[in-house]
């Protein structure tokens, strides 16, 4: 419950934040703190310098890019996403999933940037953003670059954001007519931590499926995607396409689920997520 000594800085611009992050190798960004502070309380790991992003208002906006992509600032809180009309118009699945993350207090502080940079295997947004094919904008001392979702997540607490860099924005394609999104899984209790979850999108250019909680990073169900490309998305076809997905995975086994159980749940979750997306795509819901 009691943290180790740590240095604290509160920059007022992104460039100042990046400068401090680059100067100190043990520096870490502090966004909502809903995971990092707990890790420090357990003294499991302790950064030397905390760079509080709380004052970086430029990272707190929700808007649209010139080419119509939904743009979420890294410091936008989950509650803001759940209440956002832009999100509701462009990609409501973000709000529906966001509304089941932990509880009101956590959602009022937790940010989408923090959620993805922490990349706890059971976090909701990583697999969802992979399925939605989001892109991540990262700013470092040498400038800005963008990374596709498939290349962003590298390991537990490890992403493409290197030391000295900062995630500034997440861009999500807006929903196109006739497309649909789905998210399904098994959580421990209502709005609990997921044992396995899956996100799926169905659109003109096919089906994207990402499975969470089965590896350090979200896993694309590529075989299932190829089998479903252009196929009718009825329950039997989707269920058949999911067969064998579990065997390709090497999930952890813990007190809540054995590896075998997680393999089975991956197939069930992927099926349900795709069926949800398909239903939305056909305007059923």
């Amino acid at each position: 419950m009691l943290l180790r000594e740590v240095e604290y800085a509160r920059p007022s611009t992104v460039d100042e934040a990046v400068a401090i992050l680059s100067q100190h190798d043990g520096a870490r960004a502090l966004a909502g703190g809903q995971t990092l502070v707990n890790v420090m309380k357990a003294r499991a790991a302790s950064p030397d310098v905390l760079v509080d992003l709380g004052r970086l208002d430029e990272l707190k906006t929700i808007g649209f890019s010139s080419d119509g992509m939904l743009e979420l600032g890294a410091m936008v809180t989950t509650s803001e996403i759940v209440a956002s009309s832009e999100v509701d118009v462009a990609r409501p699945i973000l709000a529906q999933v966001g509304a089941t993350i932990a509880d009101v207090q956590v959602r009022n502080r937790g940010t989408i940037g923090g959620n993805v940079c922490v990349n706890d295997p059971t976090n909701h947004f990583p697999p969802l953003l992979v399925a939605l094919d989001a892109t991540f904008t990262i700013r470092g001392a040498s400038g800005e670059r963008t990374v596709a979702a498939d290349d962003f997540f590298l390991g537990v607490y490890l992403t493409a954001v290197a030391e000295g860099e900062l995630l500034t924005k997440i861009s999500v394609p807006a929903r196109t007519p006739g497309s649909g999104d789905g998210f399904a899984g098994l959580a421990i209790g209502a709005h609990g931590t997921y044992i396995v979850d899956a996100a799926a999108t169905v659109s003109g250019d096919g089906v994207r499926i990402a499975i969470g909680c089965v590896d350090a990073v979200p896993v694309r169900a590529q075989d299932m995607e190829t089998r479903l490309a252009g196929a009718d998305l009825g329950p039997d076809t989707v269920r058949a396409a999911a067969e064998g997905l579990g065997a390709t995975l090497d999930p952890p086994s813990d007190v809540h689920a054995s590896a075998g159980y997680r393999r089975h749940l991956a197939e069930v979750s992927a099926t349900r997520a795709v069926l949800q997306a398909a239903a939305q795509a056909m305007g059923a819901s």
């Binding site: 890790v39 003294r43 990349n119 706890d120 390991g155």
Partner: protein, 155 residues
């Protein structure tokens, strides 16, 4: 926690063996190694700060060679004592010749105790897998270097 797998090297077996057998090179495999000290042929110690994404995990690791059958089998034990965690890992390497290269079957029994454990199993296992894969990539680089050195001499 048991983790295992196979790793291919396109280097002759005795090159791989020479790395596995040399404490100086083995000590550098640990992620975030800051310093190491060779006690004797069978014992060496490394001070590491394992990069854990959210902050470093300082740990002192004492290695001990358990068993050796040149050039096909080696097993060693590593006792890590850190403030964030206690680790006790026993690893076994079996080297098989595969054409001009080597195929290594490795297995590790990793026991972790202490505060890191309280973060929940779901985070611990992927972290261990990650660190093991870091070690394997580091081993591959060492083998490449050793091969280059050996290549240089024989050319």
């Amino acid at each position: 926690m048991n983790v295992s797998g196979t790793k291919e090297f396109d280097a002759p077996r005795d090159t791989v063996w020479s790395v596995l057998n040399d404490p100086a090179q083995m000590a550098q495999l640990m992620p975030g190694v800051e310093s190491f000290e060779i006690k004797d042929e069978k014992h060496w110690r490394a001070k590491v700060k394992i990069p854990l994404g959210l902050g470093g995990l300082k740990m002192t690791i004492d290695f001990e060679k358990l068993e050796e059958r040149e050039p096909e089998f080696a097993s060693l034990n590593a006792k890590g004592n850190g403030v964030g965690a206690l680790m006790n890992m026993t690893t076994r390497f079996t080297l098989n010749e595969q054409g001009s290269g080597t195929s290594m079957d490795w297995a590790a029994d990793v026991k972790i105790a202490g505060p890191v454990g309280s973060m929940g199993q779901r985070v611990l296992q992927p972290i261990v897998n990650q660190q093991v894969s870091n070690v394997l990539t580091a081993l591959e680089q060492q083998v490449e270097k050793a091969k280059a050195v050996a290549g240089g001499e024989s050319a």
